[in-house]
């Protein structure tokens, strides 16, 4: 009696776990707090990714690697598969409104890489969040520009 009871509990429990897992596969909408965690990377900006999502899931690393060689070696700086582009589009805002870095588990890349236990090497060197606007522009602010212009013209007259 007691043994049969235990067996029944086990069967029901197992069924529950399997059921939820298959549900998760079907809908991809299960919250991460569920019993079977699935990665839920934050949605990027804009309508769609630079390539079909399914393709990106499987091939983003290859695309990034090709792009990296073309950029570093040849100076080709197209946007489609640039890591910078990924980072800017998929920024996840943190508590202070600033995008989170890779140290935060909510980081776009980390959500899946943590799940798949695949080491992320990129961000030992690369910035893991978008550049601040001023830095992205890479230009000196206007006030300073004008001051420099003045100094510059003075130097010219000397």
């Amino acid at each position: 009696m007691c043994v049969r009871h235990l067996f029944a509990v086990l069967v029901v429990g197992l069924a529950a776990i399997l059921g939820e897992a298959s549900l998760a596969q079907d809908t991809k909408q299960v919250p991460t707090a569920g019993r079977t965690p699935v990665p839920l990377p934050a949605k990027g900006k804009g309508e769609q990714c630079v390539a079909p999502v399914e393709w990106m899931r499987r091939n983003h690393m290859t695309a990034l690697e090709h792009q990296r060689d073309r950029t570093v070696r040849e100076g080709i700086r197209t946007r489609q598969f640039s890591l910078k582009g990924c980072i800017e589009c998929h920024a996840v805002p943190g508590a202070n409104g600033r995008p989170v870095g890779v140290a935060d588990a909510r980081h776009f890349c980390r959500t899946c890489h943590d799940y798949a236990a695949v080491k992320l090497d990129c961000f030992e060197c690369h910035a893991s969040r978008p550049a601040e606007a001023a830095q992205r522009a890479g230009r000196i602010d206007v006030q300073k520009d004008v001051a420099e212009l003045a100094r510059y013209l003075e130097g010219l007259e000397r």
Partner: protein, 278 residues
């Protein structure tokens, strides 16, 4: 080695280790004339900045910028060879505008361990032991045409781009530091500790070697390296950037007419960085 200094003096009358005075003065005079033309062109660009700052801000040196932006899909071309010309007579000893600009632009800075900190560019004090005359010049990767760092790199991480810019592909750098052993200019630094918050356009990380990139990310956009921009901004105009292969470029014209020299020219590496009045 002082032979090449003498070799560039047109009159050949330089007898000792001192400056080749007559030729240096000629050089200065010519330099000032062409520099003025260059500056006036830049001034036009500055006016534009003042009138419509938000719109044409990128023309800070745009009018004078010797490089035109390349479409992003175009690879760097071997038709160009980027280089610098540094006029030691215009470079004041106390100024380090180029160094701070580079540091800010590329995100390298003191970590509290000066012994191992990276320096992509540094101010070099050059003293003549006989006359005690000193000069101060910036020293950085000389972007050689035959770079020893590229020759010795076992993996090919150290490479020269088609347009002459010498870079480290940090993706395949294993951190053996053989390139640092081979560089005659001590231009390279090894990253000795973990880094965080690197800049998006200047990736760098522990265990790899790095050096001046000639601000390749700016050059590809048709802009001038940060050091050159800062030098102009500081009112010295001691640094000039341009395409050595383009006979119409200001830098090529100067190299063709003035007594400029390459550091350690005896090694035959043909650096893309040239100095005058050193």
């Amino acid at each position: 080695m002082s032979g090449d200094v003498r070799g560039q003096a047109p009159c050949g009358c330089d007898a000792g280790a001192g400056e080749a005075r007559p030729s240096a003065e000629e050089a200065n005079a010519a330099g000032i004339h062409s520099a003025r033309r260059w500056f006036l062109k830049s001034a036009a660009a500055f006016t534009t900045v003042a009138l419509a700052p938000g719109v044409t801000l990128m023309a800070l040196t745009g009018g004078a910028s010797p490089s035109a932006a390349r479409p992003p899909s175009q690879p760097a071309s071997s038709g160009q060879r980027w280089g610098l010309l540094i006029d030691a007579s215009r470079c004041p000893e106390g100024c380090s505008a180029c160094v701070s600009a580079c540091s800010q632009e590329n995100g390298w800075k003191g970590t509290g361990h000066p012994r191992t900190d990276a320096q992509w560019i540094r101010k070099l004090t050059v003293r003549d032991p006989k006359s005690s005359v000193t000069r101060s010049v910036p020293m950085m990767c000389q972007h050689c045409a035959s770079p020893p760092c590229v020759d010795v790199c076992p993996t090919g991480a150290s490479f020269k781009r088609a347009d002459g810019i010498v870079l480290v592909d940090k993706h395949i750098c294993i951190g053996c530091r053989y390139c640092m052993m081979a560089c005659p200019y001590k231009a390279r630094s090894f990253i000795h500790e973990p880094l965080t918050d690197q800049l998006a356009h200047a990736p760098r990380g522990k265990g790899t070697v790095e050096s001046c990139t000639l601000c390749v990310h700016r050059v590809d956009e048709g802009r001038t390296p940060a050091c050159v921009e800062a030098c102009i901004g500081a009112g010295h105009g001691a640094m000039m950037f341009g395409d050595l292969n383009d006979p119409q470029s200001e830098i090529a014209k100067r190299v063709a007419t003035l007594a400029t020299r390459q550091i350690r020219a005896d090694l035959g590496l043909d650096p893309g960085v040239r100095y005058q009045n050193l």
